[in-house]
Amino acid sequence: MSNASPDRDGGARERLQRWLPKLVLSPSCVLVLFFVYGFIAWTSYISFSDSGMMPDYTWVGLHQWSRLWTSWTWGIALHNIWVFGLLYIVSCIVLGLILAILLDQRIRAEGVLRTIYLYPMALSFIVTGTAWQWFLNPGLGLEKTMHDLGWQSFSFNWLIDSNMAIYTVVIAAVWQATGFVMAMFLAGLRGIDGEMIKAAQIDGAPAWKIYARIIIPQLRPVFLSAVVVLAHLAIKSFDLIVAMTGGGPGNATAVPATFMYSYAFSRNEMGIAAASAVFMLAVIAALIIPYLYSELREPRS
């Protein structure tokens, strides 16, 4: 029995050891539960409440939601995010894929070029927006430069044209994210079994056909990841709009992210703001959850 007591002592320590992992994980879990899911719940509730300048917990049902959907600016914001999101995702993927394929041809200065294509990702849009805003400003930037160079008829005033301003945002956004998409595709290309390509070459397939029929179809997972990442970046885009156009001219470049900010902080319409935020979350969740689900369950097999 003499050795029973150290064993029991060890038991307590072992119990602690057993609980330690969960204990260590718990601060993060608590933070995430409270600051993410608790806040989501709170905001969701607010979207059904009578909140204006301050939160007001009076239940008003779908009132704020119906106001959101009849709101004229929300219509613009939704339209813009469609146009922006679609163009942004498609352009990034097309350009990114092209650059990746070109870079994958055993290019001499690949490292340098890759760095150049990727560096915009490291910069804040508040920084690059400053440059783009100036670059695209008709009185000072590209247009003036072209005029100076003698191309008098050159005209590029999208930034101040409410019908075209959203496209300038697309240009800047694509510029920023293409490098990232390129990197994803490049990694995907490098991961493809070289023997298969050799086999295709022996079969006499021309290079473009090898890409179109064999390589690109194999990049499907990369396409999926790219679409998911870009889509969520698009929906979250905020600083990009703020830095480039401030949502203007007028409301021409308003998107849900800026809409929400404006309704929450300057229009004293917390209820509508909350509803718009919940809507954004729902769209992203519809995209992300199936993706995460498939990513997380795969390793099990």
Binding site: V24, L31, F35, A122, V127, T130, F180, L281
Partner: protein, 291 residues
């Protein structure tokens, strides 16, 4: 003799076209940075008269000095240096703490799996993707209640909370490639939970630590939404100050000063990126594609 073969000649021509395309893209990608840099060294006069793409006729450091020390942001004319240090005050603790939490989480979620660990990971990971608009309203209130509104401390908290998702993802993916047997062996050797982490896993985690630091550093440094929502005035980070500076005007827009300030805001992430670009790339990859 290779020139003799038409196929080889065609091949060479293709190479030339290939390099030409890549070069054109490189020029396009570098253009904004180039314009920012050159403009920041020009006098206002030259900006208004000269060509945007031209190199400065007369190099001047005045815009940089002004941006750093005396440009007016809102109503205070002390330049961006105070805000630059705000960002540093925010970025260092935020990166370290969120990184440590992420490392612990990754360790537990891969090496101390428990029932439902995937759900926990999924819940943490999902927080990377939420549109942050959904947490702005309650966060503003909670920061107020914690007396952290309008302080760099508040932003540190915010960045920690919303950085955990990414740091956990990085470390989890990294530790998933470590054999579980490592932990079992250490347990048999008599090492406990923390000993295993600090003696065995952490010393072997240098690559992912670098990735995480770079990723978090750029994310926190470049943040605008949280900065503009939860901090103003003296506690604003550099991005918010830059935006305020660029949009402050006293009758004349000092583009050179704006660009210099933008460069000041960009330099830390650019340096980090150029020095550790390879790691950064890897970080991007593990953040998006399953590693």
């Amino acid at each position: 003799m290779s020139a003799a073969s038409p196929a080889a000649r065609r091949g060479a021509a293709t190479r030339v076209v290939l390099y030409a395309i890549l070069l054109v893209f490189a020029v396009i990608y570098l253009m904004p940075l180039y314009v920012m840099l050159t403009t920041s060294f020009k006098t206002l006069e030259e900006i208004h008269q000269g060509n945007m793409l031209a190199l400065p006729g007369e190099w001047t450091l005045a815009p940089w000095r002004e941006a750093w020390g005396s440009a007016c942001i809102g109503l205070e004319c002390n330049g961006v240096h105070g805000y630059f240090f705000n960002s540093i005050k925010i970025v260092i603790p935020a990166v370290l703490i969120s990184g440590l939490l992420g490392a612990f989480n990754g360790y537990v979620l891969t090496k101390w799996k428990f029932r439902g660990h995937k759900i926990v990971f999924g819940l943490i990971l999902f927080s990377c993707f939420i549109p942050f608009q959904i947490i702005l309203l309650p966060m503003a209130r909670v920061l107020g209640i914690l007396h952290l509104a309008n302080s760099t401390g508040g932003l540190v908290l915010v960045h920690i909370v919303y950085g955990i998702g990414f740091t956990t993802l990085f470390f989890r993916n990294f530790y998933a490639s470590f054999p579980d047997e490592l932990v079992r062996a250490a347990q048999l050797d008599g090492a406990g939970f923390f000993t295993i982490f600090f003696r065995i896993l952490l010393p072997a985690s240098v690559p992912i630590i670098v990735v995480t630091i770079i990723w978090q550093f750029t994310n926190v440094w470049n943040d605008f939404l949280f900065g503009v929502s939860f901090a103003s005035g003296d506690s604003a980070p550099i991005t918010v100050a830059l935006n305020n500076l660029v949009n402050s005007s006293t009758g004349v827009k000092a583009y050179n000063v704006n660009m210099a300030a933008a460069m000041v805001a960009a330099v830390p992430t650019l340096i980090v990126y150029i020095l550790a670009g390879k790691y950064f790339l890897r970080g991007l990859m593990s953040g998006s594609v399953k590693g």
